[in-house]
């Protein structure tokens, strides 16, 4: 088991962190998805091809490296389809037809994966799909939809050009102002069958947990920094045990969350037997801890944290949106119960 980053992985982290600090600071995050930032993410850092196999033009890295990157994009609250494209890439590396991977690796294609909790919401006839997806993450920003669809030979994964015919996209305003969703209606939209639907749920759990780890880390950093400069009653608020002890508890959650994310990513790469339990653990622990830390970071800011112009609510809302992204969080606990054969 490997819970500590290698030197290369640390370098990757530093590079992504430095890039995002400069290219996507929080004032810019409020402006939403910027394709130019994505172009640079690919051009300068090659992130879009990170987990694409080398034969399709990618770097062939594993979940451990993807987790390192998602932690940073999470900490930066990077807007746009980065997470969902990572989800789609995880899916695309596990189907027969891998052609889309090249476009993703080159940064030409942003793909949105729709993976509704309760099976396929679409039906296909070999060349076109019909059906409605109620909530597609970054559905307005992505160019290609990757989704499961029911056909004659069972459930397969299909790819649909979101700018093509038969597609109606409706933007949904979301709690999280930094990342939107769309309702997508498909009425005979041309679709390409990629192969049988792969089993990727565990890896999505790990990827999302990595983003959540970043969100909680950045939220804790922000409130710790504020506690060192904000004064009340003549003392820095961080010197009051009422604040200090809460921050210490938040730190304990962060340490445990990071340990779990490293473990789950390692399991995805190296120990598939451990992956299901590790993935369920990651969502069950990290999703909750992320919201709790983001919540307390907001509350400890006092009144200013309640204003729209302060950034605290951005972390709080991303944390809540992420917590329920894959369904009511109890599903991860139920899965743990099943895996532990309780």
């Amino acid at each position: 088991m490997k819970l500590v980053l290698s030197e290369e992985q640390q370098q990757l982290r530093e590079a992504v962190r430095a890039f995002l600090r400069a290219a996507s600071p929080l004032p810019k995050v409020r402006e939403g998805y910027d394709p130019q930032v994505y172009a640079r993410l690919n051009g300068e850092l090659g992130l879009s091809g990170l987990i694409v196999p080398e034969e399709y033009g990618g770097a062939g890295a594993g979940m451990t490296e993807l987790a390192v990157v998602l932690e940073e994009t999470g900490a930066a609250l990077l807007p746009g389809p980065f997470l969902t494209t990572a989800f789609a890439t995880v899916a695309l590396t596990r189907v027969r037809d891998k052609e889309l991977l090249t476009g993703i690796a080159e940064g030409r294609v942003q793909a949105a994966l729709a993976e509704p909790a309760g099976g396929a919401g679409l039906a296909h006839d070999g060349s076109a799909v019909r059906g409605t997806l109620a909530q597609v993450l970054s559905g307005m920003d992505a160019g290609v939809l990757v989704a499961p669809a029911q056909g004659g030979e069972g459930v397969v994964l299909v790819a649909v050009d979101l700018a093509g015919p038969g597609v109606t996209r409706t933007p949904l305003e979301t709690l999280d102002p930094t990342r939107g969703q769309a309702r997508v209606e498909l009425d005979g939209a041309p679709a390409r069958v990629l192969g049988p639907r792969p089993d990727i749920g565990d890896r999505l759990c790990v990827a999302l947990a990595a983003e959540q780890l970043g969100v909680m880390r950045a939220a804790l950093d922000a409130i710790v920094a504020y506690a060192k400069v904000r004064v009340a009653f003549g003392r820095y608020i961080g010197s009051y045990q009422g604040v200090k002890h809460k921050l210490a508890d938040m730190h304990g959650k962060l340490e445990q969350a990071e340990s779990i994310v490293r473990y789950a990513a390692w399991a995805a790469d190296e120990s598939p037997d451990e992956l299901p339990e590790a993935a369920a653990l990651a969502q069950a622990y990290v999703g909750r801890a992320c919201f709790e830390v983001a919540r307390d970071h907001l509350l400890l800011h006092g009144g200013i944290g309640y204003t729209w112009e302060h950034d605290a609510h951005l972390f709080y809302k991303r944390a809540k949106a992420d917590e329920v992204l894959m369904g009511p969080p109890r599903i991860h606990r139920a899965r743990l119960a099943a895996l532990l054969e309780l």
């Binding site: 009340a232 009653f233 003549g234 509350l299 006092g302 729209w308 809540k320 329920v324 894959m326 009511p328």
Partner: protein, 391 residues
């Protein structure tokens, strides 16, 4: 008139005069002012306030009787709430006779709207560290010149007058260099800017003062004795908040047990148990509030124990919005979903009227009688004190 008759008369008046719907055909403030004038003329505004200044000079008993009769109506008194709950009582307690004569009756009749100007960006929980300056200018006819910024001001965009706490001496400790004023909100140099909260709504304002003059006759209390006046105001604020705690509307809350049982899967025993937890906490706090109310009626003043109720309400509000979104799942993250609004406004209960940390200090110090923290800010001259946000 005995109390039963008083109550009967109030009931009849309300039946005939209370607006039954909240339709927005005419301007809300105009309608509110119109209603307030009728309320005053009927003798139901300022029930316990002194007759000399326009009140009715009656007792808590009559006031309570009217409040109980009014409970089922949504009276449009919101824009007057600061004046009636805080600034008016402060003027009655601490104003000069000239100020009472000038301000109290129009306030009670809804002719003039008031706001309260204490909090600043750098002075939240620690109100007395505020930095807005008032400098005396005797050349200009014994007046004061005010510069600074206030925040978290309700109804300021409608207000005619504001009760302003400002610093008049920086060479003494922070509590000892403050003075209270009545400021004309229509004066040039007063800028009111709506402040958007994290849910996207603008229920509060920021106020900027740029060389605003105030005649000395609008000073409330002695120069540099403003903190004691502010304590009066804050006491009234606490009373009016705790009177409202636990009142009305909670059953219609989208994160209440009643609402959730309609929308979530109660076939799942875990979901059911979470609703039981929410029921337990909701009932526990509701019963505590009812006990405080019964004690108050029996003459036992709850004092700082009301802060415990406020702390518990803040925690319950956060808990239930958080729980509800977890139970509902992805849909709760859509901006149009009632729970998205609930999770966005939930922190407000913990931040308005004192943070949870301040409430715990109050309960610890005043209810449990625990020893105070050592204070570093009570003796240092204000100009040497660390305030606001700084490294």
């Amino acid at each position: 008139m005995n109390l039963a008759d008083y109550r009967r008369a109030a009931r009849a008046w309300l039946r005939d005069n209370a607006p039954t719907d909240d339709s927005h055909e005419t301007d809300a403030v105009t309608r509110a002012k119109d209603f307030m004038a009728r309320l005053y003329d009927a003798g139901y505004s300022g029930i316990t306030w002194p007759q000399r200044w326009g009140g009715q000079g009656l007792t808590q008993a009559e006031e309570r009787a009217f409040a109980e009769e009014a409970r089922d109506y949504a009276l449009p008194t919101y824009v007057f709430s600061i004046g009636l709950g805080m600034t008016g009582p402060t003027l009655v307690d601490r104003g000069t006779d000239a100020q009472r004569e000038r301000f109290v009756r129009p306030l009670l009749r809804g002719e003039e709207i008031w706001c309260q100007l204490f909090s600043e960006p750098g002075a939240g929980s620690d109100v007395a560290s505020l930095q807005t300056r008032a400098v005396r200018d005797e050349a200009g006819g014994d007046q004061w010149i005010v510069n600074g910024q206030k925040v978290w001001t309700s109804v300021a965009h409608h207000a005619d007058w504001g009760l302003l706490l400002a610093r008049t001496d920086v060479d003494v400790p922070k509590h000892k260099g403050l003075t209270m004023f009545v400021v004309d909100m229509h004066h040039p140099g007063v800028t009111v800017r709506p402040l958007q909260d994290m849910s996207g709504r603008a229920n509060f304002n920021e106020i900027f003062f740029d060389d605003v003059t105030i005649p000395d006759e609008h000073r409330v209390g002695e120069v540099n004795d403003g903190w004691s006046v502010a304590v009066t105001t804050l006491l009234h604020e606490r009373l009016s908040i705790s009177a409202g705690v636990g009142m009305g509307g909670r059953r219609e809350h989208p994160a209440s047990v009643e609402a959730l049982r309609q929308t979530v899967d109660t076939g799942d025993p875990l979901v059911r148990d979470q609703l039981v937890e929410l029921h337990i906490r909701t009932r526990a706090l509701a019963l505590f509030n009812q006990r405080l109310a019964q004690e108050t009626r029996a003459g036992i003043f709850p004092g700082a124990r009301g802060s415990a109720a406020k702390l518990l309400l803040a925690e319950l509000t956060m808990f239930q919005a958080d729980l509800a979104t977890q139970l509902v799942g992805p849909e709760a993250a859509l901006a149009g979903h009632p729970l998205a609004q609930a999770i966005s406004v939930a922190p407000g209960m913990a931040l308005g009227g004192g943070t949870n940390e301040i409430m715990r200090n109050i309960v610890g110090d005043r209810v449990l009688g625990l020893p105070p923290e050592p204070r570093v800010d009570k003796t240092v001259p204000f100009k040497d004190l660390k305030v606001g946000t700084q490294a």
